[in-house]
Symmetry: C2
Subunit: 549 residues, 2 copies
């Protein structure tokens, strides 16, 4: 049997547009002589549809497209479809894989394990199905599963999240091939986990494995494709690309033969992060209908990296840089920003904020001079935010936020100022990784696209004379590891200190993180690349007692 696997990039909720993609892909499957064409989890709604699932009309329409469009195709051509879809039974909703054959629904495979952690909310919408049956595809008994279903092996994981695992039952029924329809977003380390766990399952159950993953970004989530095929020895036969759609074919006979050649191990490094950020940016623009980005270019490292990524993702002709010096901006910052814009081929405009700043000072200080307090620092950032939003509103640019995860974590940023914008590229990238990205960019370009001084000078917001980040914050090489432990590993203060960090610093950092929750509540959507990003996956109370857990 010949199976076509379709790694597609859907837009959430765009049922008809996604249907067109599915049909085009199916047509290519036909042309490639497939007997079956397979699509990812919730292929027509796109994953995650979230509260769109509360609309009965949405579910009705998806169902109608499957019944009226896809089923008749399988009758006409004799080629089957396996597709992730919503499935209703009574007043319960299931996340299902539907096998469409000869114009009919041959079987529905209803997801057992519903992820509920981090960004996932499936228990909010779906009922778990405990009965799972093997499907015969020709002569081959197949375990058809949906995403999380395969991620609870009781031997592989030391702390499995769920009490059940649907796989032993399916393999007890004789399955020889595991097909998994996924929509699994990227975070660093995930490639390695997949490429360790999937061959483990293949060997454990003496079964071939086809893992088909969604590609492309939806809001903060970037799905990294990288669909995988293993033979029953756990040898990798194929890996699809991480950053684009692809239709590929598998002959089931080959799934039970030695691989013959070795697919090199997956690269999941700073280069992957760059790829993910660029895809995330490209898709956010494409799917919201924007073409052009504007950002404030300060001459610092964060905006330099954002400008570079945006130029790569959208084309330099679609990125506008605003250089908005204040009385406290250094000369070298303006120079560095100009140089970067030229290196990237960006249009830029210089709009000094001196005049509005002076007008506001006149108005707010009752004719007195600047007081150089935090309020005036924030004011400068907000005047820049005003200008960026003005260009956005008048000329149709989407504003990119340039802040990084470290500063967002400790609240070292101005609400409505440098936090203003539609998409934050670095809000899940800690400062030290921003440097890694900058150096990586210069390495792959083979030239100093990002001027060296931007990378080497001490970080500064330049909102008061001679200001440095380290005046207010611990050095980033101290701060970042503490943030990782507190935010991603949920360590308490004492556990962080036990890792060798100084008590005063730890408590200061935790307090800064805790009291700036209100800022993050109003932050722009930010691309997720860690297992625990700010945004949809973080559900932390704003008003809460401050105790150092």
């Amino acid at each position: 049997m010949r199976i076509a696997l379709s790694q597609l990039n859907p837009t959430i909720g765009a049922l008809e547009q996604n249907l067109e993609k599915v049909k085009e892909s199916y047509q290519k499957g036909l042309e490639g002589k497939a007997d079956l064409v397979v699509f990812t989890e919730l292929a027509l709604p796109g994953y995650p549809p979230r509260d769109l699932l509360n609309y009965r009309g949405f579910l009705d329409k998806e169902r109608a497209l499957i019944t009226d469009d896809l089923m008749p195709l399988t009758a006409k051509t004799g080629v089957s479809i396996l597709i992730g879809a919503n499935y209703r039974r009574g007043n319960r909703l299931y996340n299902a894989a539907l096998l469409l054959e000869n114009g009919e629904l041959k079987s529905a495979h209803l997801k057992t394990l519903l992820p509920y952690f981090d960004v996932f909310d499936e228990t909010r919408y779906y009922t778990s199905c405990l009965e799972r049956k093997v499907e015969m595809l020709g002569e081959l008994p197949v375990a058809i599963t949906v995403c999380e279903d395969i991620w609870n092996d009781m031997d592989y994981f030391s702390e499995p999240l769920y009490d059940r695992d649907p796989l032993p039952g399916l393999f007890a029924q004789g399955a020889r091939l595991l097909i998994n329809l996924s929509a699994s977003p990227y975070h660093y380390g995930k490639h390695a986990l997949r490429e360790d766990m999937l061959p483990y399952l293949a060997r454990k159950y003496d079964s071939a494995v086809i893992y088909l993953n969604q590609v492309g970004a939806n809001d903060e989530l970037v799905f990294d494709g990288s669909s995988l095929v293993y033979n029953n020895r756990g040898e990798l036969l194929y890996r699809a690309p991480a950053d684009r759609e692809e239709l590929f074919f598998v002959e089931t006979d080959n799934l039970f033969k030695p691989a013959g050649r070795t697919v090199p191990p997956d690269r999941d490094d700073i280069g992957t992060v760059k790829t993910i950020l660029e895809m995330g940016t490209r898709d956010y623009f494409a799917k919201t209908g924007f073409k052009k980005a504007v950002l404030g270019l300060s001459g610092g490292i964060d905006s330099a990296v954002v400008a570079t990524l945006a130029a790569e993702a959208l084309g330099p002709e679609n990125v506008l840089a605003l250089l908005m010096p204040s009385p406290y901006s250094s000369e070298h910052s303006l120079e560095d920003a100009k140089k970067l814009a030229k290196n990237l081929g960006l249009d830029y405009r210089i709009i000094r904020i001196d005049a509005p700043f002076e007008t506001f000072i006149e108005l707010l200080n009752e004719g007195q001079k600047p007081r150089m307090d935090v309020a005036e620092e924030n004011l400068q950032a907000r005047l820049r935010g005003n200008i960026l939003m003005h260009v956005s509103n008048r000329e149709g640019y989407l504003v990119l936020v340039t802040g990084n995860k470290s500063e967002l974590a400790v609240g070292y940023s101005t609400l409505y100022g440098d936090m203003a914008g539609g998409l934050a590229l670095l809000s899940d990238i800690r400062k030290m990784m921003v440097y890694d990205l900058a150096r990586h960019i210069n390495t792959v370009q083979g030239r100093k696209v990002i001027p060296e001084r931007i990378i080497t000078k001490p970080p500064s917001a330049e909102l008061s004379p001679g200001q440095k980040d380290e005046d207010s914050l611990p050095p980033y090489k101290t701060l970042d590891p503490i943030l990782e432990l507190y935010l991603e590993k949920n360590y308490s203060a004492s556990e962080i200190m036990a890792e060798g960090h100084d008590e005063e610093t730890v408590k200061k950092v935790i307090r800064m993180v805790d009291i700036s929750e209100y800022k993050r509540r109003q932050a722009a959507t930010g691309l997720r690349i860690s297992p625990y990003a700010f945004g949809a996956g973080r559900r932390m109370p704003v008003t809460r007692g401050f105790e150092y857990y």
Copy 2:
């Protein structure tokens, strides 16, 4: 037996501070000769603790306070405690009611039904427990339940949310009293539902019912207390207040006698909404450590109502009004705003935005005159946002957002402009209900605190000459019912039209709602008073296909 019921107002995460309240309340219970003192769901963490539950150190500390502080109290005094708490078994977490007796944990009653809809995320943290046992309190067999446990009666609800109901099993074991530890937030209509469903259960099971609810606000959620006691005939014996803490006593003997007197039906009307908004405001300030509020007073109805509620909640001496007219502000608006401020006894400052507006126009229009486009309208709103935030940053005021739910729904508001601030009082109140509030305020005050012209004049943002809301939006009396159907009842466009609404209007409104999701993502925390508010309970994708479901 004499039971003391403690309706407390916890601060999320403030374990030690909440423990102090619990101990004080317990002491009063002792003084009142109680045999048992009962507390609400998750009494020490406060509800909802959300991602604080991801911190093992947090759970350890709660457990330590129970073991080291509360249990010894029960040994010392002989008076038991029934308290909502987190309970770990292996690597699973349960939402439990713990009975502490004579220095020991006598029994743990683990919640079966875990709410997952709207603002609730309990399946994210907790495991459901299916085995439930009746507890003997003296001679009395008692069904001890936690919040959602009692809300799935298969006869009462036409579409029960869960497949199970723990009550029939508990009553089959002979329970004569149902005790429910709740943390159930207010939304309009909920009082009536409670006071219908609870006596239904009392009659169905011939059982007395004690419903004990948390009071006070945490972020957007306002818990409305109103704890209830019913005898086994379903007659209401007692209702606690909606807006404050209370310790009250119940003699179990009296639970099985006729009521003797009739408690009047609960008032749940615009007055309740006002109470809830004031408590929500008061607690947000108290629990974030702020004392003083600042808001922009435009002379329109929304800011008038917010100023009035804030003055009531915080005291007029703690509310500062900024009157920030632009070249397009009408004379009467400034007059009305001043009159309102005087009526309320608020300090106010007049800060015209003409000068910064002119400076920006000079800067952004390259010396040309205003173009009167949307960008310039937004600019005015953002200049006001700058000033409010400046006063906040410099003088320690928290900025109140004055926008209503109707405009937030259709995106008729400026991000970082009138949307700037820490707490939105009206973001779940549709415009027509804002008018109801205004009229109600004047009625209960017995004077026109809110000047009549503010209520009667046509709504306008006054961002361009002669502008009216109805130039851009359907009249609110048309808009609001469409929003209710689309946002709270999840009707599709065709279902809304079937209710008698015009196709063009419906599609326009839905499109406006859909394309302004990105603004709401960055909106301030807003007090929730409907069953489906913007904020934590809304999980709607930003980048999505636009189709009129």
